[in-house]
Symmetry: C2
Subunit: 280 residues, 2 copies
């Protein structure tokens, strides 16, 4: 196995790595926040990596983006105003805009370079930024959320990198408390909550902090993500009042989801694998 | 990243690899059938690899073994006589013997060296071979099944390696047809059916061949397996008459499952991720 032809991501402190065979590196940018690279892989299409971690590949990103967006937006009774924290590649925005109930979708990404690279290498995602309902901001989401009017958001999607570097503050109780106050009373928070297999204590901590922040309803949604460490990842939903155990039928999503299905969603509500259920 | 300290398995033709950081190789045996290696990993406990492919690790093997065994044995009304094809590490046998309904469990492994190595390095699994209900044979399962009396088996678990080398014949319609005739009328076949993400055409082919062999009921059960290529793997169930959409409650399994749960099982029956549903 010729190492020079593989992009390999060792998961921090986990003794586990994923590799994708690559044809060539297309770009490498040092932004003020991080190092962003774009590769052409042999079998997973284009790959965006940030600080050596796989962010998305053309072949499997739909899983993560659909799971971050559809359960939350179908659980909310009427998700008119959606805010995305992070998500500079516009993949989450793309899924959000498939919901006809959405009137405005604000994306707050700290690093404009992420979106600039997505424009060049993932145009099928970045074009979501041209939708008249989309509103793209480039600043620290912690500050943006602080300034947002109270009770102004229906669904808040936290599409962050891992809890190190620029995204660390997005995993703190203080941030969750601010998010809760900016959500309307029936609002829903959806966040990427890392690998429940590799980092069970972190998932437990996230759910504990969501509870501390006053989110009485919480739901863990694990799913298989081939290019994220351990191949299993999770999204968590949290709300103050809206029950998370029922949802609307997604008859109107265009184009149709490729991973999300109502059967899957209902199944996850009904019961998780035992080892993930025990985390909660 | 120092390559010499990692065990890396590139999935054949998939441009995808999984690596586990290792401390040392404990054994390497060339049996008449294959090369078997045992490693001590940093974070996944002991690892058994056959011909360079990860077979099991101490940390996550329970997922695969529970999913191969519990859905089938809880769906069958009274699984008294169980036969395991392959499974020389005795992990499947271990899960089978947790079911009090099981009166005899026959394991037919072609390669005695696999079980010998499991005795030394996975004794918590291999000790299942000492159970008075267990009966271990070392021969080609294709021949063993040919000789088995018709309608003599309640549940047949195919715990094979990938469809190359010694296991190739275990993925053929002819073998499935023989299996069906050796199962009782209400018998259930459970087989490892590879990664539905990396090899969707293979999964489709397996289900097509099961149908050709006369199995009218079929069920695909995908699950997250961190150390198998793509992190998502599958088991398939097949039966001639027994409905696969209901099952008994596993109140009596000792010790309790760590991955399997009735909620998970019910959820998988109710609906798969869209991309896997479409395969069927």
């Amino acid at each position: 196995m010729d190492d020079s032809q593989w992009f390999v991501e060792p998961a921090p402190g986990a003794g586990y790595s994923i590799g994708l065979r690559i044809r060539k590196r297309l770009e490498r940018i040092e932004s003020p926040y991080q190092t962003i690279e774009i590769f052409e892989t042999d079998d997973f299409g284009r790959l965006m990596a940030i600080d050596g971690c796989i962010m998305l590949t053309e072949r499997d990103h739909f899983i993560y983006h659909e799971m971050l967006v559809h359960p939350a937006l179908l659980t909310h009774p009427r998700p008119g105003r959606v805010v995305i924290v992070g998500g500079g590649d516009c993949g989450t925005l793309t899924e959000v805009l498939k919901h006809p109930e959405v009137e405005s979708a604000v994306q707050v990404e700290i690093d404009q370079a992420v979106t600039a690279l997505a424009r060049r290498h993932f145009p099928e995602l970045a074009r979501a930024g041209d939708d008249p309902r989309a509103d793209l901001h480039y600043e620290d989401a912690l500050r943006w959320i602080e300034r947002a009017p109270p009770a102004s958001i229906d669904v808040l999607c936290i599409d962050s990198t891992d809890p190190v570097g620029p995204a660390k503050g997005l995993f703190e109780t203080e941030f969750y408390t601010t998010c809760r106050s900016r959500l309307k009373a029936d609002g829903i928070l959806a966040l990427q909550s890392e690998s429940p297999f590799l980092y069970p204590d972190l998932v437990k901590q996230i759910h504990g902090r969501l509870a501390e922040a006053g989110f009485r309803e919480r739901l863990l949604l694990p799913f298989s993500q081939p290019t994220y460490p351990s191949g299993v990842w999770s999204v968590s939903l949290a709300s103050s009042t809206t029950p998370l155990g029922t949802f609307r039928s997604p008859v109107s999503l265009i184009p149709s989801p490729r991973y999300y299905s109502t059967g899957l969603h209902r199944g996850l509500i009904g019961g998780l694998p035992e080892l993930y259920q025990r985390l909660l």
